[in-house]
Symmetry: C2
Subunit: 221 residues, 2 copies
């Protein structure tokens, strides 16, 4: 019974996501959905990424949070247009759904955007279930969270096209085994590109941004 | 429409939670629901807590994960009976619901338990919405997650009876403002007890365990 209801919600979402996908194709906007646990460093990662992408690509951001505009305020500093969604207006939703993205996109000049980054609600479970019409998905995992998250939250790592391991500047102070987390990621998603970065120091951003840029250019050219 | 469906699920859950609460009252079992983001250190905190509580209190644990029995294996070392719930058997649920606790409790000898600790699925959003029939709730926040989590995820901090700030051994390597997180916690939940610990080093456990023990003894005596 409960499962049927969930299925219906997901079916409706899939239809809306297809509509979004058509619109973004028509407008030649590449959409990246960025997901993670709370506090993995998504916003700092995106802040630094925007600064480096903006000379070459016209970027915009949709930020999802249950409450506050903290992240939108931080991202707006980059100069990119930012739309904040607070899901507490829809009962505190734990994820961004396709219809929410559709509405947020109305506030953006899509003819003037190459790359639209969606920073999802901090949650390693539910957002993975909701197609929003994106072109690619990236999961950010902080090395402070432990190596076993890919096997404990396999849907997220299976559904994403790349993984960012963030906060590597803290590695000297943690018992974190980089080989083990890579092994776990590859167990649930063989061949997935993995990028090791420190959003704080800026270390390791080149391979990650190269990966993203090549995908964006393929679509918008 | 969607909201109505969710309401129905929560109404059913509230009824089941009341049944659990009656059973736990009858059996004089104190139930603590422990919630947090993925990777906040719930399991290590509970491992250390069990070791220190076990001489005085008969403890048991119900562990919720989407996949794997990693946490149950770690907690079983304490000697406490542990029941693992893998929510991927129910479609990958992002939280523990009351009916799941009811079933898990069947595997425990409640006549021989003073304190039943429920380690919820790693998720700072959804578990806060589901009453499981517990006596108290504790949220664990790792200081690596940033100070603003209480205001970004206010329901969790409002619904919990105490907050643990974990991984304080990493403070020298982070830009984390302890006064600011305390201010944010008190904004959403005035007067909430806050415990600062390092589950890794064992620092700071005394006030947390004293708080928990006094609540348990009040119920079971």
């Amino acid at each position: 019974m409960e499962i049927k209801v969930v299925r219906k919600v997901l079916d409706v979402n899939a239809k809306m996501a297809e509509q979004n996908r058509k619109l973004f194709a028509e407008k030649k906007v590449f959409v990246l959905n960025v997901m993670s646990s709370p506090g993995s460093g998504k916003t700092t990662t995106l802040q630094k990424s925007l600064t480096r992408l903006m000379p070459d690509l016209k970027c915009a951001v949709i930020v999802g949070d249950i409450c506050t505009t903290n992240d939108a305020d931080r991202l707006a500093v980059s100069g990119a247009p930012v739309v904040q969604i607070n899901t507490d207006e829809f009962g505190g939703d734990c994820h961004l759904a396709a219809h929410v993205i559709e509405k947020a996109a109305l506030d953006l000049d899509l003819d003037n955007i190459d790359l639209l980054i969606v920073e999802n609600v901090g949650n390693l479970v539910c957002p993975a279930e909701f197609d929003i019409g994106e072109d690619a998905r990236t999961v950010v995992l902080s090395v402070t969270e432990g190596e076993d998250k890919p096997v404990k939250y396999p849907l997220m790592f299976r559904e994403c096209d790349s993984a960012i391991l963030n906060k590597i500047d803290l590695l000297p102070y943690l018992d974190f085994d980089m080989d083990l987390v890579r092994k776990y990621i590859r167990e649930v998603h063989p061949g997935m590109p993995i990028f090791e970065i420190s959003a704080k120091t800026g270390e390791g951003f080149d391979p990650w941004l190269d990966w993203l840029k090549s995908l964006v250019l393929k679509k918008i050219r």
